[in-house]
């Protein structure tokens, strides 16, 4: 190992080879930067949706949880608060909302969670991750090829 080191250091270095080496190291640096840049590009557009999903996931963590008593929370609270007759029929109801734009306004049941369940998917993460992996793979392959060409000389 020391022999090759000595050989390499004792070899007369011309201006051309030094420039070539500097160029290849610059290229290698650029190749390392490429995945980082791609990662930033992937994250930037996804930031708002990520925030949304993360908050909803946080809220979701306690969404399906039940009280330690083991009973369903909606049963005890629903009956006294419900405005419909206990027979379970809405047949006598007259005030159905007729337009899709206006949401029904009557409120009786208290909301226990502060967010609706997360049922989406951030496609930008998959695309960003895939591009990043491909870029990293190509970076490694290119650097290896350059190094191999260099050591071959």
């Amino acid at each position: 190992m020391t022999r090759t080191d000595v050989e390499a250091s004792s070899r007369p270095q011309t201006a051309g080879t030094e420039a070539q080496r500097r160029g290849s190291s610059r290229a290698a640096r650029r190749l390392v930067i490429l995945p980082v840049a791609l990662l930033l590009l992937a994250i930037a557009p996804a930031a708002p949706t990520l925030a949304a999903s993360s908050t909803s996931k946080e809220a979701l963590s306690g969404y399906g949880t039940k009280p330690s008593s083991g009973t369903s929370p909606s049963k005890s609270t629903k009956t006294p608060t419900s405005k419909t007759p206990t027979t379970g029929t809405p047949a006598k109801e007259e005030s159905a909302p007729t337009t899709s734009s206006s949401a029904p306004t009557t409120t009786t049941s208290p909301a226990k969670s502060n967010s609706l369940p997360f049922t989406g998917f951030n496609l930008s993460w998959t695309v960003g991750g895939g591009l990043l992996l491909i870029a990293m793979g190509f970076s490694i392959a290119t650097v290896q090829r350059r190094q191999g060409r260099h050591s071959g000389r």
């Binding site: 379970g88 949401a103 049922t119």
Partner: protein, 255 residues
């Protein structure tokens, strides 16, 4: 002697790096292919998982539908002559008995060709199996709001096309105690924090379907509102003294 050893050592890491590069490129290509399939159809890996889960739930639901009420339930049912009250009692019993993620019924939306076993609860693992009934709302048959959440892109994407539901379309819920027909009355896009828009009681029995919107994002929530229009008691909820045909309970006409 040392020269060939050095060459061999330097060749080994280069081969390892080459393998790593190929592996990374292959994984990246797989991720991009997954994204493309998701864009055109749905996320395939989670779909496979949900398909297996649905098959398992279907078997469990079949067992639940065939199970007879307990002696205590039978005693209470005997004192309830009204079918609506019997349905409500059985709905409350099922809600009390069923745990998070257990199958409780089936949702069928003919307009979008959806037919899935629904589960109790909207926790992350519950929704991976199928659409889930919010714990904050009652089961169908209990007066008030019933809200169901479902995935739009992953896990078989049961609610992928709920944005195409319009006024007059039907949503059917097949529970072990009754069959419910809901008629769509509208839809609304709300913030993820607007829970009240989904779970509040409005003075009549309604169904609220919820899913993330727009597609491939979780920025907002799409709520589809439907009103109960028809109930047909089945199983223990039926009270047919003379053995005649089951009469459907007409809740109300579609608005």
């Amino acid at each position: 002697m040392s020269a060939p050893t050095v060459a061999g050592l330097s060749r080994r890491p280069s081969r390892a790096f080459k393998t790593l590069a190929i592996l990374l490129i292959a994984l990246g290509s797989l991720a991009l292919a997954d994204a493309a399939v998701t864009l055109l159809w749905q996320e395939p890996f989670s779909a496979l998982y949900a398909k297996l889960e649905q098959d398992h739930l279907r078997g469990a639901l079949h067992k639940l539908e065939r199970s007879a009420p307990s002696p205590a339930e039978r005693r209470t049912l005997a004192s309830l002559p009204d079918e609506r009250r019997r349905i409500e009692f059985l709905a409350r019993e099922l809600q009390r008995r069923s745990g998070e993620g257990s199958p409780v019924g089936r949702i069928v939306i003919p307009r979008i060709g959806a037919s899935y076993v629904i589960v109790h609860g909207t926790g992350a693992s519950a929704l991976e199996s199928g659409p889930g009934i919010y714990s904050e709302t009652g089961f169908p048959g209990i007066p008030g709001t019933t809200a169901i959440a479902g995935h739009r892109t992953t896990y078989l994407a049961p609610f992928r096309h709920i944005d195409s539901l319009h006024r007059g379309n039907h949503v059917l819920l097949y529970m072990p105690y009754a069959q419910f027909t809901y008629t769509v009355i509208g839809q609304k896009v709300v913030a993820p924090t607007d829970v009240r828009a989904a779970v509040d009681d409005v003075g009549y029995s309604r169904l609220v379907l919820s899913a993330c919107t727009p597609l491939f994002s979780a920025a907002k929530r799409l709520l589809v509102y439907a009103r109960l229009t028809r109930t047909v008691p089945v199983g223990a909820a039926r009270r047919v003294p003379g053995g005649g045909a089951v009469r459907p309970i007409i809740a109300s006409r579609a608005a």
